[in-house]
């Protein structure tokens, strides 16, 4: 094997890892399911990664999942498989994991990796957006907490400083009675990249909408969410009046602007995205 060697680090502790990031600009490898494909070379040749590499998926500190003050903290290196088996992980995440990844990917792919890869089609992102996920970024200086929609800035663009590491994902308390949906449209049930994905949350109290959140994936550079439109639903009578429903769908029709690519067409993506929204807001089966 002819391979140009880059420095690589595999520290025993999180503290050592973070102090190395303070000294050197590194490529961070958690499960590797995205990094190894992104930098793939031809058969028999190691992926071409220009920067020194830091392995983090063995760090136990990054695999803790726990509740604190009602908020769920998920370690950035929890694999999908570990999340599936953890009693604290919300069922809607487990449903999504079963639908997006085959067992072999579940055993390597991590939640933190899915976020930091910042793909427009990132499978866990729609749910993380509607859960108002917050991210804990640790550096030698401090822990910084960032909202997921501020962290992800565009395809493969994130607001991580060179000396920071995503260590935890926080899901602020979600009201139990919330109705949740996650749907992914792709060519295959496992291991396919989304054409469209959708996550929704709806909470109805005493016949009126108390909370509504929607996020669409693979229809723009980042997840599409509109808190302005969501607010229009608050206090509306449920089941929704036709005018209200039509207005919400029309709002999203004006902000969802997908593209044509090898996986799908803009027209298909937009049509399906709006139908998923309408289905979620009207389906009795879900409730």
């Amino acid at each position: 094997m002819v391979t140009k060697t880059v420095a690589s680090y595999h520290f025993d502790t999180l503290a050592e890892t973070i102090s190395k990031l303070n000294e050197e600009d590194c490529t961070i490898i958690a499960g590797g399911t995205d990094v190894m494909v992104l930098h793939k070379s031809r058969r028999g040749v190691a992926p071409k990664i220009a920067k020194p590499v830091v392995f983090i998926d063995h760090l136990r500190e990054l695999k803790q999942t726990y509740l604190e003050d009602g908020d769920l903290h998920i370690g950035a290196c929890c694999t999908y498989g570990e999340m599936l088996e953890h009693s604290l992980i919300p069922n809607i995440f487990k449903k999504a994991i079963r639908e997006v990844a085959a067992p072999a990917i579940r055993n390597r792919g991590t939640l933190g990796g899915n976020i930091c890869n910042a793909s427009p089609a990132g499978d866990m992102l729609p749910l993380l957006y509607i859960f108002n996920a917050k991210l804990v970024l640790r550096s030698v200086n401090e822990d910084r907490i960032v909202e997921i929609h501020d962290f992800i800035q565009g395809p493969r663009r994130i607001a991580r400083q060179q000396n920071e590491l995503l260590v935890e994902i926080i899901l602020p308390e979600v009201v139990n009675e919330a109705r949740l949906i996650f749907e992914k449209i792709a060519n295959r049930r496992a291991d396919a990249i989304s054409k469209v994905s959708f996550a929704g949350l709806l909470q109805v109290q005493a016949g009126k909408v108390a909370d509504a959140r929607f996020a669409f994936g693979a229809v723009g550079p980042t997840m599409v969410r509109s808190q302005e439109t969501e607010k229009k639903l608050l206090s509306q009578v449920y089941p929704l009046k036709v005018e209200v429903l039509d207005e919400v769908v029309a709002d999203f029709a004006s902000i969802i602007n997908p593209i044509d690519d090898q996986r799908s067409t803009a027209a298909y993506r937009k049509t399906v995205a709006l139908k998923l929204l309408r289905y979620f807001l009207t389906s009795k089966e879900l409730f």
């Binding site: 094997m1 391979t3 140009k4 060697t5 880059v6 690589s8 595999h10 490898i29 499960g31 590797g32 399911t33 990094v35 190894m36 494909v37 930098h39 793939k40 058969r43 028999g44 040749v45 190691a46 992926p47 990664i49 590499v53 392995f55 998926d57 063995h58 498989g81 079963r98 990844a101 085959a102 067992p103 072999a104 990917i105 055993n107 390597r108 049930r189 496992a190 291991d191 396919a192």
Partner: protein, 155 residues
């Protein structure tokens, strides 16, 4: 130097840490049962067990393997569980060209070791990361159902 267990023996390699496990297996250790289909984690032909979990060896940089226990189809083929799978895949016609078979067998082991009596739906989910272009999957599903019956108690 990266040190891990491979098919029961401790091995060391000085290959760079970003080398794919699949390449290391095939080229340095001459274990060619794990195949490269897509090289992107979509086809499952390169599946191996790492700490008893099925994983795609094309996506694993060997630097991540320090201290782990890797089992390939070559190591697995020495187990009694393999004997049952071998027989059942043959009986049910679950093998045609054979390219996907080592990965399919590894995925089957991962499934049965967690769930010895899977439903058809669970079997399809268990092998959802493994593509087969010959059998149409039904005969593989039959093979796994047969193995669950015949190997009762083994898993």
């Amino acid at each position: 130097m990266i040190k891990f267990k491979l098919n029961g023996s401790v091995v060391e390699t000085d290959a760079p840490s970003t080398v794919r496990l699949l390449d290391l297996l095939r080229e340095e250790f001459e274990l060619i049962g794990s195949k490269e289909g897509c090289g992107e984690g979509e086809c499952g032909a390169c599946s191996v067990l790492v700490d008893n979990l099925v994983q795609n060896s094309c996506l694993i940089p060997i630097g991540a393997l320090e201290g782990t226990d890797v089992q390939t189809i070559e190591g697995y083929s020495k187990t009694p569980q393999y004997q049952v799978l071998n027989e059942c895949y043959a009986t049910a016609g679950g093998v045609q060209c054979g390219f996907c078979t080592p990965g399919m067998i590894i995925a089957t082991e991962a499934l049965l070791s967690k769930n010895p009596h899977p439903s058809e739906e669970e079997i399809r989910e268990g092998i959802s990361g493994n593509l087969c272009r010959c059998t149409g999957y039904n005969m593989i599903v039959d093979a796994i159902q047969l193995a669950a019956k015949k190997g009762d108690g083994l898993w």
